[in-house]
Symmetry: C2
Subunit: 232 residues, 2 copies
DNA sequence: TAACGTTTGAAACACTTGTTTAAATTGCTT
DNA sequence: AAGCAATTTAAACAAGTGTTTCAAACGTTA
């Protein structure tokens, strides 16, 4: 028998919204479609949250705090566990892995939160201030600290450039995966994409593993070459 | 006196659409708003193009062929001009520079075509097949050839990973710039962002220069370290 | 100038959007 | 079981959407 722990209307809405927004984009999802997916009345959205915009905000925040905590914990763990000198590759691997895992994968439903990328690139972010102060800034700070622990040579400005390069790669690997999944099987576009981006044929877990490995090795190699340690 | 070479209705629509779509996103721009901006009747969109969707397609295609030609020419030039062994950094610099210039900058109006990034990340791409076959594939092929000329060691699969890392960085630097420009001056979000992403204070040209320099050096260093040349 | 096809214009169309209303139902507490 | 607030419901609302219509204006050729 399938256990059916009764889920509240609000949670059902949040779940449906997260999946639909991530899949189709905010503007492309109507409240009626949302209500149908969550099996609630159309008025529920305005009763429980106060409007569609607010629902988006709640969806984003809910995922963000979870993702942020996971990231901060993982980063702190890798720093403390490694004596006090983790390897660059370890630190980057940790960030990339938590990011990709929390965003793409291994979730019950296919309800990934590619909304992080969406928030960065989309046109609908209205929780900007909260998003930057509560999400970007803390993760940036923690990642900076971890990188500095691994490679004390990096200045504050170096860090902004290096981190931008790493985050850029992460987002792109997320987007590519989503894009590939959005194609119909055997479409012309998919076939072209496969020629340009082979790892698309993998499972999510394999993809996360492969992408994490590549980004970490690529980026740590670049950092070590660009900002060499003192030899003494 | 301002020269006023009479611009056709279609071109005025394409121009307005390019700017508005890039700024607010496709779904957020109504045909009436579009018509007002282009100073044409609402029916013009459906008369000259056949519907809003088709207009988007035309806008994208118009920019794409221009961007593609610029990229292909620049890549071919750097390969032939350099004997037949350009440096890795030169090749990457060429791609990044043409990409950023064509996307962010130095255009008459602030009408950048961040629609390339939009096409990749957004939810509205319906010209997928055309886009991949006519834009992505040729540029990928040309860039692969140029990279191979600079660094024969790279296998076909290596290239897909390396190029993904480079393109990811490019897109991210585009998005960050756009995002920063979209903030109100002195907003909390902008202040947070500046702490995390200093180069936002630059002019477009300076930003393009700095970003190009960073991405090229970062990526070529990574490639040289990860795939070392034969020493013999 | 007359007649032509092309382009523009204001208005209307059919439909969807997010949101509100007010009555019906539910779940608790007394 | 009664009363009461919280919730759900179907229906309506006002506003906005992309698109179509068809008459007026235009520009070119005869």
């Amino acid at each position: 028998m399938t256990e059916t722990p009764p889920i509240s209307t609000q949670d059902r809405l949040l779940d449906a919204a997260e999946e639909l927004f991530a899949t189709k984009g905010f503007s492309e999802v109507s409240i009626r479609e949302l209500a149908a997916a969550a099996d609630v009345n159309v008025a529920a959205v305005n009763y429980h949250f106060q409007g569609k915009d607010n629902l988006l905000q709640e969806v984003i925040l809910r995922r963000f705090v979870q993702q942020r905590e996971a990231t901060l914990n993982a980063l702190e763990k890798v720093v403390t566990e490694a004596g006090d000198r983790p390897s660059l590759e370890q630190v980057i691997d940790t960030l990339v892995r938590t990011y990709l895992t929390g965003t793409l994968g291994t979730r019950k439903k296919v309800t990934f939160l590619s909304m992080i990328a969406e928030e960065m690139t989309g046109h609908h972010a209205q929780a900007h201030d909260v998003f930057f102060k509560e999400m970007i800034a803390p993760v940036f700070a923690a990642f900076s600290r971890a990188l500095t622990a691994a490679h004390p040579r990096l200045t504050a400005e170096d860090l902004t450039w290096v981190i931008a390069s790493i985050v850029g790669q992460i987002h792109h690997f997320i987007v590519r995966w989503k894009k590939a999944r959005s194609f119909e099987e055997d479409s012309e576009a998919l076939r072209t994409m496969l020629r340009v981006f082979p790892p698309v044929g993998l499972t999510v877990e394999q993809y996360i593993e492969a992408a994490t490995d590549h980004i970490s090795r690529f980026s740590s190699a670049a950092i070590l070459a660009l900002y060499p340690e003192d030899q003494q």
